[in-house]
């Protein structure tokens, strides 16, 4: 989030800069690198997704106003159609009286659940479902999705400023707040969260990032003391705080194991979180994007503990050895070499950071060599995911974008607060920007983004939560490439199959690997189903699965263009 100066490339004109601060500001290009194609269509209005995010901006520039909100794409009622959940802000007084809490009473501040109807439109079912965020009166940030009790229904964990809320899915279209009885009593400014099974015991555990040790009382004045130029503060003004890890006890309750697992030993300014088994040892690892401090790579030692190896693995800093304003993250194999890589979004002038997994537990910043550096130098990104939007067998990169400072135009004339989202096409590991529809030309204040095949056509659609605005629902128009959808059903492993690794091979030798996860990008949760692009191939030669407990399963010659349900062998 930090408005950090980028690497100012100033040539030899040293006569001019003996003491001059290099602001290094820049603006997003207003010229599309390629003409708009029609791969995606904005359909939020058409589908009756009328959500409006309400951050409650104040003249006091409380930092959390500019950090929300999140979105989840998941099938809460198991009708086979994906639904959408949005987090929302809460009313803030200006200024906030001492001891006062954000007020979510007014329905305009409620979190919202949209149920997908059979005709593809959506209906707001928030009140019936009981997920409005009332009465706990929180300023909601992010959302995690997972079936923590293995009852076959996806549950929700909503992060807020001040704590989190666990909603148990009752299986009848309603949810119940079970936070207290589940033992999820953590506080602080929670940001992203994700369910994963770190100890492979078949029960989903919960990882929660926390941003800063900040409160309304400790808020300070930042920016110029000129009317209209007060700004949201850089995180450097506030102390870091540790993330939280909750172990699922298997009986509907959780135990805070942040200290014993080693997570609490590392305080950061944490925003995004993603999971993958980067060293292929069978234990899921955790990557945490930190804002203007070193990113964390928590290596799972397989014995209930984590070692932070960001620095030694090469994934803690960018190629210059600098920290950056890490916000969103994805942990997936973009170059089809079988090793999960990491992409981290950040602020203008920092360029998004692409850590390629070089094997042996090492990462190499390939932002430049992949071409990503040049196309993202001027962009500010939040939620992100590698998605194969055209199912050609290579995962492309989507990023929800917008600057963190809502008055950036006043202080840096060439920067804009709202920015169009980014779709970077992956051609054999090289990225180029693609304007995949009008939505990719329209600037928005993007924050969260979640992914899933909303209309069941085998092509991944995107939902973006825009701060203070209506969301974007980007329907993928599809194409002629073939695909294979995979939905895992764990038996010995967690029911969602989260943490499974899937390797799909086609006859042409293309090998794609996936790590099943719902945690994505920033403040968001995606559908757990995996959509694999097969290109021209009409069959997948092989689909190999390594379940979290280590069970191996392989299927051969699977025809394309179907959603395949795969159940974990019981023995």
């Amino acid at each position: 989030m930090a408005q950090a100066p980028g690497e100012a490339r100033i040539g030899n004109c040293l006569w001019l800069i003996p003491a001059l601060v290099l602001f290094g500001s820049a603006a997003p290009s207003r010229r599309p690198p390629t003409g708009p194609s029609s791969a995606f269509e904005e359909v939020a209005e058409k589908l009756n997704v009328h959500f409006q995010h309400e951050p409650s901006p104040t003249s006091n520039k409380y930092l959390l106003e500019t950090m929300g909100g999140g979105v989840a794409v998941f099938d809460y009622d198991n009708d086979g159609r994906l639904d959408i959940f949005f987090t929302n802000g809460a009313k803030l007084s200006d200024p906030m009286p001492k001891g006062a809490a954000p007020d979510k009473t007014d329905p305009k501040y409620w979190n919202r659940l949209y149920h997908q109807n059979a005709d593809g439109t959506f209906t707001d079912v928030t009140e019936h479902a009981g997920v409005s965020g009332m009465p706990e009166a929180g300023y909601s940030m992010g959302v995690a999705v997972g079936d923590y009790d293995n009852d076959g229904y996806e549950d929700l964990f909503v992060t807020t400023y001040g704590g989190g809320v666990l909603y148990h899915n009752n299986g009848d279209g309603t949810f119940r707040d079970v936070t207290t009885q589940a033992g999820l009593g953590g506080g602080g400014w929670m940001a992203s969260a994700g369910f994963f099974d770190y100890n492979n015991d078949g029960h989903l555990d919960l990882f929660v990032t926390r941003y800063l040790d900040w409160s309304f009382e400790t808020n300070i004045y930042c920016g110029d003391r000129v009317p209209g130029q007060r700004a949201y503060c850089h995180p450097k003004h506030f102390p870091p705080v540790a993330s939280l890890l909750y172990r699922n006890n298997g009986n509907g309750t959780f135990t805070d194991v942040s200290i014993e697992s080693g997570i609490a030993a590392h305080k950061g300014k944490s925003l995004g979180v993603a999971f993958a088994d980067y060293d292929n040892d069978g234990n899921p690892d955790v990557f945490v994007a930190n804002d203007s401090s070193q990113c964390f790579l928590f290596h799972n030692n397989g014995h209930g503990g984590f070692d932070e190896v960001g620095l030694e693995s090469g994934a803690g800093f960018n190629e210059n050895g600098n920290v950056f304003a890490g916000m969103g993250v994805d942990f997936a194999d973009y170059d089809n070499d079988g090793h999960p890589d990491i992409v981290v979004t950040d602020l203008s002038n920092e360029r998004y950071v692409l850590f390629r997994n070089a094997g042996g537990g090492l990462f190499s910043d390939e932002s430049s060599s992949s071409g990503l550096a040049r196309i993202t130098m001027l962009l500010s990104g939040w939620s992100t995911k590698f998605i194969d939007y055209d199912n050609d067998g290579w995962k492309d990169l989507f990023v929800a974008q917008g600057h963190v400072l809502d008055n950036i135009e006043k202080t840096s004339g060439n920067l804009t607060y709202e920015q169009p989202p980014l779709l970077a096409r992956n051609s054999g590991g090289k990225f180029s920007r693609l304007i995949a529809g009008e939505a990719f030309l329209h600037p928005r204040a993007g924050r969260g983004a979640a992914f899933g095949d909303l209309n069941g056509d085998g092509f991944v659609d995107i939902v973006v939560a825009n701060l203070g605005q209506r969301p974007s629902v980007l329907r993928n128009r599809g194409g002629s490439n073939h695909w294979l959808g995979i939905r895992l059903l764990g038996t010995r492993s967690n029911r969602d199959g989260i943490g499974s690794q899937i390797l799909v091979t086609t006859a042409d030798g293309n090998r794609q690997s996936y790590f099943v996860s719902t945690a994505v990008g920033y403040l968001s949760a995606s559908d757990r189903r995996v959509i694999v692009g097969l290109g021209a191939a009409t069959t997948a030669k092989s689909v190999a699965i390594r379940w979290p407990g280590g069970t191996l399963q392989e299927l051969s010659n699977i025809r394309s263009n179907q959603m395949l349900d795969i159940t974990e062998p019981r023995r």
Partner: protein, 344 residues
């Protein structure tokens, strides 16, 4: 790197030299043009001390100190001359300029202010104000001074270029582009202006224009045999950022041929070779970059990474530790900076 003094001569003025002036004045200018700065300095001093020098002679005399760097001697001589001509604006300008070059900005401003009171419309004084304001981090004042200097001497391409650089540094890329173009309209072969134009287009995200102007800057320097490695480094860096290592490689080779002791060029070459997975070669350049600039934490970090990628884990751990220490030192501020400088 050869200083671009000669190239600047044509950029500074359209002014011609007074035909009535003594021989030393004309000879001084001629020697300056031929690059014989020692002789030029002597002749131009003789010219000034005779009371015959004008604005042009004073300016060129001041400029001789850039390559020769004998500022202290220059100040002694200027102070002596000022005792004879205490209100001579040209001498005040030279003294103020020399103080500026010695980072004595306060003294420079005092003398420039005195000159300003005598000649408020002398563009050189406003330029000097701007340079000093930049030292004080008074960016708006610097901008206004440069704009005033330009209004007094609109045909001076260096002033436009300097204003363009100021805009670039402030992130005002549109203005920087405009001023760079003004400079180029006055001096079409102004390689530095093309360089700044390229960087500004880069800042604005105009890839094609950035590439075109980097190319132009590099071509002009080659044509004029100007030994400036910076456009090559920046061009290479931009190509690398675009995933074009093959285009970046020869540019960095050329930059290193010009200035093998450039820490930046060595660093970029090391990073490029890391991209190309030539880890052993990358190590050599990153080590050289760090040796040339022991304050360069990024080179140390890059070295640690390629050391690890090339299989030397203990070596990498040692370098990472060193990197963390340097990072911590750099964060400590000036005291640590001095420590770093001492190592250098």
């Amino acid at each position: 790197m050869k200083l671009p003094i000669r190239g600047l001569i044509l950029l500074l003025f359209g002014a011609s030299v007074n035909a009535q002036e003594p021989a030393s004045c004309e000879t001084g200018l001629a020697r300056f043009r031929s690059g014989d700065f020692d002789a030029a300095q002597d002749f131009l001093w003789e010219c000034m001390e005779s009371g015959s020098g004008n604005e042009t002679h004073a300016l060129y005399l001041a400029l001789t100190y850039r390559p020769l760097k004998n500022y202290k001697a220059g100040l002694t001589r200027t102070q002596k001359a000022l005792r004879t001509f205490p209100e001579n604006v040209d001498l005040l300008y030279i003294a103020a300029y020399l103080h500026y070059r010695r980072n004595e900005t306060k003294d420079s401003m005092i003398l420039a202010s005195k000159a300003y009171r005598l000649a408020p419309n002398d563009w050189r004084i406003h330029q000097l104000f701007a340079l000093n304001y930049i030292s004080f981090d008074m960016v708006e004042a610097a901008k206004l001074s440069l704009q005033r200097a330009i209004s007094l001497n609109p045909k001076n391409s260096e002033l436009h270029y300097q204003l363009a650089r100021l805009y670039f540094t402030l992130g005002s890329f549109v203005d920087s582009i405009e001023e760079s173009k003004q400079a180029l309209a006055l001096s079409p072969d102004y390689a530095e202006a093309y360089h700044n134009l390229a960087l500004s287009y880069e800042g604005n995200g105009n890839v094609a224009a950035a590439l075109q102007n980097f190319e132009k800057a590099v071509e002009l320097n080659r044509k004029n045999k100007r030994q400036d490695e910076w456009p090559l480094i920046d061009f290479a860096t931009y190509q690398r950022m675009g995933g074009q290592p093959d285009a970046a490689l020869p540019l960095l080779e050329e930059a290193l041929a010009i200035n093998p002791r450039s820490s930046k060029a060595n660093y970029e070459m090391g990073e490029l070779l890391r991209d190309l997975k030539k880890y052993q070669d990358a190590k050599k350049f990153l080590q050289a970059s760090f040796d040339l600039d022991p304050c360069n934490a990024r080179a140390l970090y890059g070295l640690a990474l390629v050391t690890r990628l090339s299989g030397d884990m203990p070596g990498s751990v040692r370098l990472m530790k060193q990197f963390k220490e340097l990072e911590a030192d750099n964060k400590e501020g000036e005291a640590a900076s001095r420590k770093c400088q001492t190592a250098r």
